[in-house]
């Protein structure tokens, strides 16, 4: 998988997060993972078809998920990950992926994205279809968000 495919997601993060109240936006480490993603927290999957085909999985801990939802809802306290918070987080990943799709189109790669699916539970794992998953950690207001990119080919 080409590492330059990460760039649209980094750009999307830098563009979108400040609009949602996250002023401090940083890029973390890039790593290569196997096809199995584990999480004790929240995972959100967005499907992609077009010039590239695959899935993007956004993951964060449950505590961080609540912090992100709270910031998006103008600081409203979030003690439980309720429907409203889930909807906010899904909308966040929709915005990030749609924004990345625009960057891809500037690279002459046209992609369409799906509605996000959010999951959480105990010892949750997601097995992706590609052998390798590229993971870029992005940090907003000190909250790390893993963006796992699983593209075919």
């Amino acid at each position: 998988m080409d590492v330059k495919l990460v760039n649209p997601f980094v750009e999307a993060f830098v563009n979108v997060m400040p609009m949602l109240g996250f002023q401090d936006v940083k890029k973390g480490n890039l790593s290569l993972k196997g096809k199995e993603l584990n999480s004790g927290g929240v995972l959100i999957i967005v499907g992609i078809v077009g010039s590239v085909r695959g899935n993007v999985v956004y993951s964060f801990s449950m505590e961080d998920a609540k912090k992100i939802a709270s910031t998006m809802m103008m600081g409203m306290p979030v003690s439980e990950l309720d429907d409203m918070s889930k909807s906010a987080l899904s909308e966040l990943t929709n915005m990030l992926t749609a924004n990345a799709a625009t960057s891809f189109s500037n690279m002459d790669m046209l992609i369409d994205i799906s509605t996000p699916t959010l999951l959480h539970g105990t010892n949750v794992s997601v097995k992706m279809s590609s052998e390798q998953v590229l993971c870029i950690q992005l940090i907003a207001n000190d909250i790390p968000i893993d963006v796992n990119i699983s593209f075919e080919g």
Binding site: I45, V46, G47, I48, V49, R53, G54, N55, V57, K86, S87, S90, D112, I113, S114, T115, P116, T117, L118, L119, H120, G121, T122, N123, V124, S125, V126, K127, M128, S129, S130, S150, E152
Partner: protein
Amino acid sequence: MDAYKVVIVDDSSFSITFIKDILETAGLNVVGSAKNLEEVKKVVAETKPDLVTMDMTLPGTDGLECTRAVHKIDKNIKVIVVSSMMDDEIVKKAKKTRVSAYVQKPVDSEELLNAIQRVMDFEKLFESLKESYYEVYKEAFTDAMTRMAKVKPEMQEEYSNDLEHVSSGITVMIAIIGKFTGRLMIDFSQESARGFAKEILKREPEDNDEILEILAEFTNIVAGNGCSILNKKNSAYSLRLAPPSILRGEHVLISALNFQTDTAVAKTTFGEVKLDVGFKRGEEKWM
């Protein structure tokens, strides 16, 4: 054009008459008009139109507030703005308010009718997908299971809702992307997954990975066959699949989407398997 029911919202009697004339000449059925928010609520609730043409500047209110009022009565009513005002800012706001198209005054009859045709064709296309998709995927599911495992599933229970799903242990999810986006999931318990794999392999599965590969491939076949049939029915759906993701864990909750999905609970010799599929109505991209 089909005789869709239309309500015209405009504060100018001249504009109402002018738009009404264009629409009626084209065969549309103008069922009412409104000049302010109160009238909008009343006329739309009474006449249940398919479509509303909406002016932006209205006394004591605006087109956006009135659009929200229309959607509060029925979110499936399409709103097309017909206004002299048109700039990036207001178009952006209109999109956010789920306006389906924007036509600038002075009204060009062809432009307005084209916009209506486009919006209503999209609506019709979704209705036709909604009518057929569940039976198509259910048949693809039954067919694939019968062929691969030589086991005919019996549908025990069928329902539709927009609630969160609790995974039975292993859920394979595939996103469907095209003119409309959707999601297909097939849900197994550990036991039904192993039993299903065993039926297909005619032996005990070697390990968990072998089971998961079979489940992913099965789901891929069901989703792929279903989409091919739908695309053959109408190529405008242009449905495509993202690769499958296999979700596992203890008490995994899978979010509801903001649309209804249909579920079939199938009883088989090796246990229960659930099929769940749905599509989002959505709005056509414009401008």
